[in-house]
């Protein structure tokens, strides 16, 4: 189980907490929705769980142990903008092989044309590139997936296609998925459990948030 205990983040000692004392738990094979207005720290939480950001307070564990600090991270983050998640100077084939090369069945499920592997990232559309980013994460070493607005930039047909592939793979390989989205109907399609990030502690007023846009995530 992926657990976050007493998680808190603030981006400076003088700055208000983005969230505090947060308890998160994600079981293998479970799909959980996470929603909240912009600026509550959804993306920050995903980054903490995936090991990109050390929380100011609290601890993240997988099956009771802290995740490895070197090698492949068992919690993989898929962000909204795939063009920022791949090396622009690598061909797609090399991008895909960066971690654990995905199985051909995964490429088929995501309908990845083998011709794309010879191309550069800028030669693929956003929807095509996001399939590559998803394929890169769907391998036996991935145990949890943080899908942070993973399909917010995509058309409905591509969105349904990617989610269909991810749902089937996650169920078959017991991967826990955190679905972060503003889209309530998408979350209700995918998840039985939905968590809403709480409002920041009262000390952090909306006016302060507006004055410190660095605290706002999501845009």
């Amino acid at each position: 189980m992926l657990k976050g205990e007493g998680l808190g983040v603030r981006y400076g000692k003088q700055l208000p907490w983005l969230f505090q004392d947060l308890e998160v738990a994600l079981e293998p094979g479970e799909m959980v929705g996470l929603t909240a207005p912009s600026g509550r720290g959804k993306t920050t939480l995903a980054r903490v769980l995936a090991g990109y950001l050390r929380p100011t307070a609290g601890i993240v564990t997988i099956d009771g142990r802290p995740p490895p600090t070197t090698g492949y991270h068992p919690v993989q983050l898929i962000a909204q903008h795939p063009e920022l998640a791949v090396n622009p100077r690598w061909r797609i084939g090399r991008v895909l092989a960066e971690g654990v090369p995905p199985a051909p069945a995964v490429l088929d499920a995501l309908q990845i044309d083998r011709g794309w592997l010879q191309r550069w990232p800028h030669e693929l559309s956003g929807g095509e590139l996001q399939r590559i980013a998803v394929a890169r994460a769907l391998n036996p070493q991935t145990r949890y997936l943080m899908a942070d607005e993973m399909t917010a930039m995509l058309d409905a047909a591509t969105q349904a296609q990617i989610w269909h592939a991810v749902t089937v793979y996650a169920a078959a390989h017991r991967i826990g998925v955190l679905v972060i989205s503003h889209d309530a109907s998408l979350i209700s399609r995918l998840c039985r459990r939905v968590e809403v990030l709480p409002e920041p502690p009262a000390i952090c007023t909306a006016a302060q948030m507006d004055a410190e846009p660095g605290l706002r995530g999501g845009h």
Partner: protein
């Protein structure tokens, strides 16, 4: 107001060394926008939505070549006319705050937009103040730099820069993704209101649900072609009123509808099939579909490029 017919965009690209090749990325794109109307362009990324906006504004890169016709207010929109009209009669509402100058206070940017849009210098400050008031921005916000405003405020600033002048045609490029639902509603409301005030609004989006909330007409793009233009009300029920199989698939793929995935992928510009561009993914495909590109034809108050519709 705006009429695009049979638009083609191709790029000259280097394949290897000095060897050049022409790559046609838009073939047969049609769209019509009238005053008082919001027309939404929906489609996958890579379907040509943004290139259309670039073609209208005359900001395609120099290795691009244009075919077909674009006319604005009844006259052909030449490159010279595009340059004269953009920022004046034709304005863009950009996608992100990144379109603002990061080093200039937002109020100043709206003022410059007003000057370019034909507002006399003497009255510009008042016009900017009125625009700020109109979009619920506090007067003090004029002094903030782009990094100091929230996502919702940034959207209002961007709308202000586009409408503070005398633009007749507004092009909104992906105005909604990643925004909180309240801000989405507000932004869409602004577009509707501008159209109701007599402007023509072209909204480019991948989000059909957002489009349907404000648009009168929806143009569906696929692989650089307009496959269908439909009144927004046709997107209802199981999509029976829709004309093109791709439009129906898009509609049924929505999480609020069937969430039915559509197999396959959009063909790449360098590997377009000779016949219908959707043939490889179409449930209705027959041998005749693969022979020639179906021409656009009128059907039930819209247009469609499908021989089976």
């Amino acid at each position: 107001m705006l009429q695009v017919q049979g638009l083609q965009v191709s790029f000259t690209v280097y394949t290897q060394g000095l060897r050049q090749r022409r790559l046609t990325v838009i073939t047969d794109l049609d769209v019509t926008v009238r005053a008082g109307e919001v027309v939404a362009i929906v489609g996958a990324s890579g379907s040509g939505k943004s290139l259309l906006a670039h073609a209208i504004l005359g900001i395609l890169p120099h290795n691009a070549e244009l075919g077909g016709s674009i006319s604005f207010q009844g006259k052909p929109l030449t490159q010279a006319r595009k340059e004269a009209l953009r920022g004046r009669a034709i304005a863009l509402i950009p996608q992100t705050v990144a379109a603002l100058d990061p080093l200039m206070p937002v109020g100043e940017q709206v003022r410059l937009a007003a000057l370019r849009g034909g507002v006399p210098a003497a009255g510009a400050r008042e016009v900017v103040a009125a625009s700020f008031a109109r979009y619920g921005l506090a007067p003090e916000a004029a002094r903030l730099h782009p990094f100091q405003v929230s996502g919702g405020m940034a959207r209002r600033v961007l709308v202000s820069t586009a409408v503070v002048g005398q633009a007749r045609l507004l092009i909104a490029d992906e105005p909604t993704p990643g925004l909180h639902p309240e801000v989405v509603t507000e932004t869409l409301g602004h577009l509707r209101e501008l159209a109701d005030g007599g402007k023509a609004v072209l909204m480019i989006t991948h989000d059909i649900e957002a489009a349907l909330r404000v648009a009168d007409t929806v143009a569906v793009f696929y692989a650089g072609t307009t496959v269908e233009q439909a009144p927004a009300r046709d997107f209802a029920g199981g999509g029976e009123a829709l004309r093109h199989p791709y439009t129906r698939a898009l509609w049924r793929a929505l999480p609020s509808q069937g969430f039915v995935p559509l197999p396959g992928a959009q063909p790449a510009p360098d590997a377009l099939p000779p016949g219908c561009l959707f043939a490889d993914r179409c449930p209705l495909v027959t041998a005749a579909c693969r022979v020639a590109r179906p021409p656009a034809r009128e059907l039930r108050g819209g247009t469609v490029r499908c021989i089976h519709a």
